[in-house]
């Protein structure tokens, strides 16, 4: 008896709740669209395509979803085909914008003059994410657990000079941790990757004596194992005891991460610490009149609280498009991406660092000069 009464009560309550929820839906929709038309909807309509860096994929998908909420008539698609392919496609004029981990080179800028209505393409930073050095070590790794390492130790691990977890150099920085004698297996990317480029840039800048390779998108030595894509690296790390690798912080999951020595302190990977580093970094020198905003990340920073292993990813656009509608879209789209709400959406969805401050202002200034008519 009692239980049937309870069930009935639950049924009644839940049906009321459902009705309320449904009616809320019904009420909200028109309000939403009307506010959108009052506010941001600047008459953007049509189909627009972007392509490029797969690192941006999660963020771009989140941006598209929220952007389309406000611009019901805009259909946007992003093909995460990779930085190289994305820029190549952009340079054929097939896409409205491109995402890339590597800033444009001179040849690409020269080439872009043929597809832009006037001027040459420019790139602005839209997506900044901390890269974590993550490890899987029985009894020591775990979510939110850290080992302390300075750049020299990280460089020597990734160059195969430190091969055991209980190496004196690691022990010296982690006196309280009881490190096992497990051999270290380095895991790195097998494909060309902006993440590898940023990580090797950090090693070169912060530990020049221990890292003899130039920064590059391909992993430079034969140490350890290679895996395809961020997901390949993460899954390889998970498959064995004693592995260490690098990937976007958002993918760290239950692995331990390395706190990197900056100045006198050890800094755990975090998005705000990464944003701080990027905002304080100097800009790439560009010729007068160029709209490019390219960050020379200060990998060797010694400012307290900065996290130095950072990937910055760019959006490529033309200052003027042959099709004015595309110009209007790209201008509106990138302003949204760079806005505080756009950056927050990306940070909430992918664990990226929300940009802001002077750097974003500069990028927004460039974007706002895109001809919309």
């Amino acid at each position: 008896m009692h239980s049937t009464k309870l069930k009935r009560l639950i049924a009644v309550v839940s049906s009321f709740a459902m009705m309320a929820a449904l009616s809320a839906c019904g009420d909200n929709t028109p309000v939403d669209s009307s506010s959108a038309s009052k506010g941001k909807n600047s008459g953007i309509s049509g189909e627009f395509h972007g392509a490029g860096a797969s690192s941006q994929q999660g963020a771009v998908e989140a941006w598209i979803a929220t952007y389309q909420n406000h611009n019901r008539n805009a259909k946007i698609a992003y093909n995460p085909s990779g930085s190289g392919a994305g820029v190549s496609t952009f340079l054929t004029g097939a896409t409205a914008w491109a995402g890339t981990d590597a800033p444009l080179n001179d040849q690409q800028i020269e080439q872009s003059k043929t597809i832009c209505k006037s001027g040459s393409a420019f790139d602005v930073p839209v997506y900044v994410s901390p890269i974590a050095v993550m490890f899987n070590l029985k009894g020591i790794s775990g979510q939110g657990k850290h080992l302390n390492m300075d750049a020299a130790v990280i460089a020597r691990i990734f160059d195969g000079k430190i091969t055991q977890w209980n190496d004196e150099a690691i022990k010296a920085e982690n006196p309280k941790v009881n490190l096992p004698a497990t051999p270290i297996t380095v895991v790195h990317r097998s494909d060309k990757s902006g993440t590898t480029n940023n990580f090797t840039s950090y090693l070169k800048a912060a530990a020049p004596n221990d890292w003899g390779f130039q920064p590059q998108e391909n992993w430079p030595n034969e140490v350890g194992q290679a895996a395809k894509g961020t997901d390949g690296v993460v899954s390889s790390i998970g498959q064995a005891d004693g592995t260490i690798g690098y990937a976007d912080l958002a993918k760290a999951g239950t692995f331990g991460t390395v706190s990197v020595k900056v100045g006198a302190d050890y800094v755990a990977p975090a998005s705000d610490a990464a944003a701080k580093t990027v905002n304080a970094s100097p800009l790439h020198a560009v010729p007068k009149g160029s709209k490019r905003v390219v960050v020379n990340v200060e990998y060797a920073t010694t400012v307290a609280g900065d996290y130095p292993i950072v990937s910055s990813s760019y959006a490529v656009a033309c200052p003027a498009y042959k099709d004015a509608k595309t110009g209007a879209f790209v201008r509106d789209w990138l302003s949204y991406v760079l806005s505080d709400s756009g950056q927050k959406v990306a940070a909430d969805n992918t664990g990226s660092a929300a940009l802001g401050g002077a750097l974003t202002q500069k990028a927004l200034k460039s974007v706002n000069t895109i001809q919309a008519k």
Binding site: S54, S81, G82, S83, G84, A85, V87, S88, P183, T185, S190, D191, K192, S193, F213, Q214, Q216, E217, N218, W219, P220, E222, V223, G224, Q225, A226, A227, K228, G232, S235, S236, Q239, A240, D241, G242, T243
Partner: protein, 353 residues
């Protein structure tokens, strides 16, 4: 009009043609209602026969030519798309190879060399593993298994051959490879004195040895199902003669089945080798690639195959990089061509005996 008249004449002539063939082959008793069809009297088939032969001839030639056209189109495409990398200025192409290989290669042959080495070694290793197991399974199915087991095994083998390589790749990368570490570790500890098995074994073992095992599992069903069918076709008389002379079952197999099936076994394994040479996804998922000429099968990041390398590098390659990758594809094409050529040679010899 022409169509209908042709089809009607074909309709008349067809039973005649079938009758001729069956008569020529085994001379069955009741070939048809017309007694002449059992003999070699073609007089009544004359009006339709020539036009039909002509049509069949044309269709057959067309089919044969289509193969050549497809092959030629592939070669042409590869050559055209690879051309910029051979014709381009030295400085640019060497920069492309440096960026593709992480600064380890600066010329085409320097880049493709380790890839060719890796492709051939991994495929050959896979074939070496798969061949004996596959022939063993085929022998068991044809000569030793009971009827019910035979049916089940036949079904399973054919099913294995039909599984897409991505599935093998996923299973290998996520389940099999991590689980085999204790075994590889044992091998490197006990057989480490052989340079091939020099340790320390990589952990997770995403190595040449593991990739070869996955490929072996993939190509085994192909060899098994083909050799099984050939074994089953061994002349019954030969088998019975061998047994009558007092041969044991194994001697009978050695005397009759194996020599009879030799060339078929070779062509089956060459077909399988073709699959192993060109396999992309499974290798890409399982193998930790490297660009060296290393014989250390249990260590990671030593070798890479051409196909897997193309798949891995293609997305991030610029236009000249794509040309470079297609040029490596051209090399893979040549390798498979050479393998097939050798196989033809071997089977022709085997068949003559």
């Amino acid at each position: 009009m022409a169509n209908t008249s042709e089809s009607s004449s074909a309709g008349q002539a067809m039973p005649v043609a079938v009758g001729q063939i069956s008569a020529g082959l085994s001379a069955p008793g009741g070939g048809g209602t017309d007694g002449r069809r059992n003999g070699l009297d073609f007089s009544d088939a004359k009006p339709g026969r020539h036009s039909q032969d002509k049509i069949f001839h044309a269709v057959a030639v067309g089919c044969g030519a289509l193969i050549l056209v497809a092959l030629g189109a592939v070669v042409l495409f590869l050559l055209l798309r690879a051309w910029p990398i051979f014709a381009g200025p030295q400085a640019k192409t060497s920069a492309v190879f440096a960026s593709l290989s992480g600064g380890k290669a600066h010329g085409f042959w320097q880049y493709v060399g380790p890839l060719v080495f890796g492709t051939v070694v991994i495929a050959a290793l896979a074939l070496a593993i798969a061949f004996f197991v596959a022939v063993g399974v085929a022998l068991f199915i044809t000569f030793y298994a009971r009827k019910r087991i035979q049916t089940v095994l036949n079904y399973v083998v054919d099913l294995l051959a039909a599984i897409p390589s991505v599935i093998y790749g996923l299973w290998g990368a996520l389940v099999l490879v991590p689980a085999t570490y204790p075994f590889w570790n044992w091998v490197s500890a006990h057989l480490g004195w052989i340079p091939l098995f020099a340790g320390p074994a990589a952990n997770p073992p995403r190595t040449v040895a593991s990739a070869a095992v996955i490929l072996a599992i993939m190509i085994m069903p192909i060899i098994t199902s083909m050799t099984r069918d050939i074994f089953a076709a061994t002349p019954r008389l030969n088998q019975e003669a061998a047994l009558a002379l007092g041969a044991t079952k194994w001697e009978m197999i050695k005397l009759t089945a194996l020599p009879f099936a030799k060339s078929g076994m070779v062509s089956a394994s060459m077909l399988a080798l073709g699959r192993a040479l060109g396999e992309t996804m499974a290798v890409m998922m399982v193998l930790s690639p490297g660009m060296t000429y290393s014989w250390h099968w249990l260590q990671a990041s030593k070798s890479q195959t051409i196909a897997a390398n193309i798949a891995a590098q293609y997305p991030e390659a610029d236009s000249l990089g794509v040309s470079a990758l297609i040029a490596t594809g051209l090399v893979l094409f040549v390798i498979t061509f050479v393998v097939n050529l050798l196989a033809r040679r071997i089977t022709r010899k085997g068949g003559a005996r």
